[in-house]
């Protein structure tokens, strides 16, 4: 197992020799391993070391649980608090973040805690065993290719795997120089590099303003921010706005930066085409009607050498979906996990926090993580749930969730956006499936939903497993009526070498019980 540089490999788990059912220790144990059975489960495994996972791990650990915190990346902080690797020698990574102090505080608590922070762990599956404990199966190494698969067991599981960026295709979107808006932000934060010198920022969602203001502050020219939605819908829910002054202030900070850098913001508009032969040379920006249909004759060409584009974020929930957790449709047409008032999913013993329950930002993620960590500790330590202790956290969460729902509704793609796809625009990049082939499968072959489109065209069957084209395929399949959110059904959260699967033996798996014989044979 790879541990981060600051934590030795065999750090003690705080509930040393205690069995799965009783954990009586209350304080983290700083001494190295003291005879704990090597295969004893942790109290809690947290997947994802972003705002939510960090907060959940430290809160649970401070209350006495043994905690393993797993993340595929080499650093903690997740998407929001991305920062350059120490080797880059960045002096002030915090300059690109507001709210850095909250992260610094979490990191300090993490170092002081007994949490085993296992970096470079890509979790590809979580399994609930017959005895009720959880197993997280992980690949290790920076790119997940090291052949040292790890299996981490625990009594409870907290999923804080964040979100990934949503893309809607358009002619030219596969040209070099077109990058994800969040991806551009991430590149800037972690490598301090810009995707171009003159970057149009487009798509929909509150992230666009943040991205444009960081790019401009880092020295790029931003000829335009192109937002497909209007901001009017925010105004229809004044209460949610008024009770979230920090969010409003955040937007004002970004807006002020844009004014300072003379960045024009075009609302109700979209990049409907990218021009260039080897890479981006210009984009066409068109006005959209209420349904996001491009208005004829409004196209304007804007020169640029890069386009940063994104349509909001999609909760990354496949690990939970694979174990049968109930989902809920979010106002922007994505799926999040359905969670109860105490962050527990429909599968007992599996909690979730942060973007997995719906996209709402780093502060909400932190709040939910903290809440989940406390609730899990109370549950596992057998303490009566003291409603009062979490009331403040729950109130804050509810307030921020209400705001997140307003945002989510304002940026739901309008049904007319498919009007900017030409038949030869590739919708699925992995399998190179153009829009025309998908339209044909629907019109002539009897496909009517994302799954049957996938079966008949291969759209979504490739390397990214539909993360890139899922929304587009669902919209095309629904032919104008409200599309079903893509199912986020990916039994492997990351691709797994067959040798790793072949080496999985003796797992206590319900399917291997004697009364349900497993006998692979030719079909």
């Amino acid at each position: 197992m790879t541990a981060s540089a600051s934590e030795p490999e065999d750090v003690a788990r705080s509930c040393s020799a205690s069995g799965p059912k009783d954990s009586t220790r209350t304080a983290p144990d700083p001494v190295p391993d003291t005879g704990r059975r090597a295969d004893a489960p942790y109290d809690l495994v947290v997947v994802g070391a972003g705002s939510a996972g960090l907060a959940g791990a430290v809160a649970a650990s401070e209350l006495g649980l043994s905690v393993a915190l797993l993340d595929s990346s080499a650093q903690s902080g997740g998407q929001f608090y991305r920062h350059p690797a120490p080797a880059l020698g960045a002096r002030r990574p915090e300059a690109l973040h507001h709210d850095w102090s909250a992260f610094a505080d979490l990191r300090r608590r993490l170092h002081a805690s007994g949490v085993d922070h296992l970096t470079g762990h890509h979790v590809w599956s979580v399994v609930k065993e017959t005895d009720g404990t959880w197993t997280a199966h992980a690949l290790t190494g920076a790119d997940g290719c090291a052949d040292a698969p790890a299996r981490i067991r625990a009594r409870a599981l907290l999923l804080a795997t964040g979100a990934y960026e949503r893309q809607l295709p358009f002619p030219g979107w596969t040209l070099p120089g077109v990058v994800g808006a969040g991806g551009a932000q991430a590149m800037l934060k972690s490598g301090l590099v810009l995707p171009g010198r003159s970057i149009v920022v487009a798509g929909s969602g509150p992230l666009l303003l943040a991205v444009a203001s960081s790019l401009a502050s880092a020295g790029a020219r931003v000829p335009a921010v192109v937002e497909a939605a209007g901001y009017l819908r925010y105004g229809r829910r004044p209460r949610a706005l008024a009770t979230n002054p920090r969010k409003a202030a955040e937007a004002l900070v970004h807006a002020a930066a844009l004014v300072r850098h003379r960045v024009p913001v075009r609302l109700r508009s979209a990049v409907t085409e990218v021009h260039g032969t080897d890479r981006v040379e210009a984009v066409t920006v068109s006005r959209l009607d209420r349904e996001w249909r491009p208005v004829r004759g409004t196209g304007r060409r804007i020169a640029c050498d890069a386009l940063a584009v994104g349509h909001g974020l999609v909760p990354q929930i496949e690990l939970a979906v694979a174990v049968g957790c109930t989902t809920r449709a979010l106002p922007d047409g994505t799926l999040g996990l359905a969670l109860d008032d105490l962050q527990e999913s429909s599968v007992p013993g599996l909690w979730a926090a942060g973007e997995t329950g719906g996209v709402g930002g780093a502060e909400l993620a932190r709040t939910e993580g903290e809440l989940a960590g406390r609730v899990i500790a109370a549950r596992l330590l057998g303490r009566p749930a003291r409603v009062g202790a979490t009331a403040g956290l729950r109130r804050r969460r509810d307030r921020m969730r209400a705001f997140a729902d307003v945002m989510s509704a304002a940026h739901a793609p309008g049904p007319g956006w498919t009007g900017w796809l030409s038949d030869d625009t590739d919708v699925c990049r992995c399998e190179e499936v153009p829009a025309g082939r998908i339209r044909e499968a629907i019109a002539a072959c009897g496909a009517r939903d994302a799954r049957t489109v996938k079966l008949l065209t291969r759209a979504g069957m490739g390397w990214c497993q539909g993360r890139m084209c899922g929304t587009a395929v669902a919209c095309l399949a629904s032919a104008g009526s409200a599309p079903e959110p893509p199912g986020e059904r990916r039994p492997f959260a990351v691709p797994v070498p067959l040798s790793t699967l072949a080496a999985l033996d003796g797992s206590p798996d319900p399917a291997s019980a004697p009364d349900s014989p497993t006998d692979p044979v030719p079909s």
């Binding site: 009897g446 799954r451 070498p497 040798s499 399917a511 291997s512 014989p517 692979p520 030719p522 079909s523």
Partner: protein, 385 residues
């Protein structure tokens, strides 16, 4: 007031079997309405693998069906567009010891009497057929009749090639059967309307038992779960359908031990498919790491080069099986007008064309291509002969 529509035949189920029934009925000049609560190939057909195998079948009624269907598939391959990805690639069954090879030889000899073509391949020639096969195998058998098709495309193109005589009613669940005087079936009821026809075909796959119940007849179709592992796209490194002899040895020895061979096959699009497990666990969709382990272990034992290859997904489906592991095909004497075409278990893709041909023959009064007695739908009634 619900709207009414009339055709010669209603087929319930737009899987590969329903599609083949519609296809051959339309070829025979009948008008057909295909009803599915989902969409084309959205059931088990979309979760199958597309092996058209004779190599794994014991001499008997199922092998007879398979041989007839194999011939129909070659003919369809010429008529349907290339998107169905028909490949007459042949199967290769390998043995890792003398006992296994002996069992294969005995099995192959019996199959040959029934019309199967099987050639023995000595151990030192296996690599001519499959260069990446593990070293040290004792020998095997090559089955040139084994072939492959892309199941979802096969269903869609069978329907499409049938032309205007086939109408699709998708997203409509059949909730009841309409019956006339003497209990004769004369159509189906869906949530929004009634569809009328003198013949109704139950091609509801794994849900065929529930459908039969709507007609008041007993047909015990049950689900048998299967997982398939799919790798990242690769250049052609597996050329045939390759599997280990243990399965055949197990069958031949009559042993009750678990059977663990995996079929490994390449696809035109690049991914290698590794399938498939069989378990009786109802309609449980939870991922089983034990099954994934066995499939991967089986595949990497045959092809060590696959060890570093990554699985990008896995999917599962529920094969429709009947207690005697034979499908139900043909008219139901208990409900005149109702025909069954379901319960094909792990061979429905392969057996679809012959099933469609039989159903069309039964409706038009033509001679079916083989004796239907083993497949009669009423055979599970306590009083059945």
């Amino acid at each position: 007031m619900p709207t009414r529509e009339t055709s010669d035949v209603i087929v319930i189920g737009a899987g590969v079997v329903g599609a083949a029934c519609a296809h051959y009925a339309a070829l025979a000049g009948l008008s057909v309405t295909v009803v599915d609560r989902g969409y084309v190939a959205g059931g088990t057909t979309g979760a199958g693998e597309g092996n058209l195998l004779v190599s794994d079948k014991e001499p008997g009624p199922e092998l007879q069906l398979a041989l007839l269907s194999t011939a129909l598939w070659t003919e369809l391959a010429d008529r349907l567009p290339p998107t169905v990805e028909y490949e007459a690639k042949g199967g290769l069954v390998v043995a890792s010891g003398e006992t296994g090879l002996h069992a294969l030889r005995e099995f192959g000899a019996r199959q040959e009497k029934a019309g199967v073509i099987a050639h023995e391949v000595p151990g030192d020639r296996l690599h001519d057929l499959e260069p990446h096969l593990a070293p040290g195998l004792t020998g095997g058998f090559h089955y040139p009749q084994d072939a492959q098709v892309m199941p979802a495309q096969a269903a869609a193109q069978l329907l499409r090639a049938a032309g205007d005589r086939v109408r699709l009613a998708l997203g409509e669940e059949v909730t009841g059967l309409l019956t006339g005087a003497g209990g004769a079936v004369r159509g189906v009821r869906t949530a929004t309307r009634e569809l009328h026809a003198p013949y109704v075909v139950n091609a509801a796959g794994t849900w065929g038992g529930a459908l039969a119940e709507l007609a008041g007849v007993h047909l015990p179709v049950l689900p048998r779960r299967g997982f398939v592992l799919v790798t990242e796209p690769l250049p052609r490194i597996v050329r045939h359908k390759v599997y280990a002899a243990d399965y055949v040895a197990d069958v031949a020895s009559g042993s009750a031990a678990l059977q663990t061979s995996a079929v490994v096959e390449g696809t035109p699009a690049g991914p290698v498919l590794i399938g498939a497990s069989r378990e009786r666990v109802g309609f449980d969709r939870t991922l089983s790491t034990e099954v994934l382990h066995r499939l991967a272990a089986g595949a990497t034992a045959l092809f060590p080069v696959l060890g570093t290859v990554r699985a990008i997904r896995t999917y599962l489906g529920f094969r429709p099986y009947l207690p005697d592991h034979l499908p139900a095909i043909g008219p139901d004497p208990r409900a005149p007008g109702l025909l069954h075409a379901c319960g094909h278990e792990g061979a429905g893709i392969g057996l679809a064309p012959v099933t469609g041909q039989i159903v069309a023959a039964c409706i038009t009064g033509a001679e079916p291509p083989l004796d239907l007695h083993p497949f009669r739908p009423e055979r599970f009634d306590a009083t059945a002969p």
